[in-house]
Symmetry: C2
Subunit: 256 residues, 2 copies
């Protein structure tokens, strides 16, 4: 397929490289940061653009990979095009692109960073289209990139995005709390590497409710109060007690 | 070395199998649950015991792998022995074994489950001994099992154990919150697998403070308040706002 990419950030870069590798043609790249855009376009053997209103109308798919807040602006400034226009954002409704007759969403559920390689073929792609043909076109594109492609409504995607905040942002914040505690005792964070890996893979395999262990799961209030007391500050104690209560609530014996 | 194992649970099982594989002799196993004990002893080609006061005095090392609360009891009931007596608990002081002339701790930092294989050679072992020779004996044992062996005081180990609660128990609880949110929208939890794996390996490689992303890190209050409002209940909103504040606090511009 002939794809036009709007955006030159992490998601745009990872996806367009994967699309090129899958045999698609990237006809052009348009981005606000023209330095990044030229660099990316060069890597993709594509034409760089800096004015969104002047992009060509010859692509099968226009993929908008810009920050959530800028999707509406991009959509407003784009020329009328015949191809499918899709964004890649978790929390933006499909309707943000409703001025285009064929519009949809292709949301890859992964945290993309410049410095890290991602195996795109394992990334779940969540697809929505304003009609069956659009959904099919986006599904075909996604299937050429990944083995995990799923239909998903705007409402589901918004919830998935929040779930990802817990499983990614908040999980990482718990790692950061652990790091702070270790630093205070002169223990390097790398000691956590294997525990973190096992925790992740155990939850993925058994499901987190089965995988849960620890004093809160056991209802071991002696250990919990001792650990609370050895935390360095009141805010961390509050966090400890709040998360422990969430865990305990999950394993309360049901009252029959 | 000749090792006597006290306990027949997950840690006792994983460690004693690793010790056997490393060429040590398990001279006996003693546990409260005699069914488990016999089973484990058979697998180890060792003698099963059910009365702790009658265990033989011929071992080089007595490894106490029972629940934290039972370590004191086990220590009180054991006969006087010449060998090194060590427990494997994170949150129990070395001094719990002070009645033995050679005593210490061999704490493997990992979450062991019956159903999951663990590569013990990658597990960090934290060693403490009441004198240099004891520490050396336990270090030699640990080095025969793992490539990651570190000295650690009782005070450090207690903090490490709390850090592990954050990086394991609390991280898993965040996965469980994500699963609940997904369930409400009929999305299977397996969609999270790659994100969870990447989050874990990114934090381990870059450190969690560098790895952090998301609306709280960016200070994007518009997205945060929209996500808060779409959470199903007040407790989950409280958790969302509390963890978000912890993240924001970590990236506050310093006031110079």
């Amino acid at each position: 397929m002939k794809i036009f990419v709007i955006g030159s950030g992490n998601v745009a870069t990872h996806l367009s490289c994967a699309m090129l590798k899958a045999g698609h043609t990237i006809v052009g790249v348009c981005g606000r940061n023209f330095g990044h855009t030229q660099e990316l376009a060069k890597a993709l053997n594509a034409k760089p653009f800096d004015n969104i209103s002047q992009i060509p109308a010859n692509a099968d798919i226009y993929l908008i990979s810009v920050s959530d807040d800028n999707i509406a602006d991009v959509a407003a400034q784009m020329p009328d095009v015949e191809g499918v226009v899709a964004h890649t954002a978790g929390s933006v409704p499909m309707s943000a692109l409703s001025r285009f007759s064929s519009h949809g969403v292709l949301y890859p559920l992964q945290s993309f960073s410049k410095s890290r390689k991602i195996d795109v073929s394992r990334v779940p792609f969540c697809i929505e289209g304003n009609n069956e043909q659009t959904a099919e076109t986006l599904t075909t594109l996604a299937r050429s990139l990944s083995n995990d492609v799923r239909p998903m409504t705007t409402a589901q995607r918004a919830q998935l995005h929040i779930a990802a905040v817990f499983a990614n942002n908040f999980v990482n914040s718990m790692y950061a709390e652990a790091e702070t505690i270790l630093k205070n005792s002169d223990i390097p964070f790398d000691i956590m590497r294997e525990l973190i890996a096992e925790t992740a893979s155990k939850a993925a395999e058994l499901g987190p409710v089965t995988a849960q262990t620890g004093p809160a799961r056991r209802g071991d209030s002696k250990v919990m109060s001792r650990q609370m007391q050895s935390l360095p500050d009141a805010e961390l104690q509050k966090l400890y007690s709040f998360v422990s209560e969430r865990i305990q609530g999950r394993y309360k014996p049901s009252r029959n």
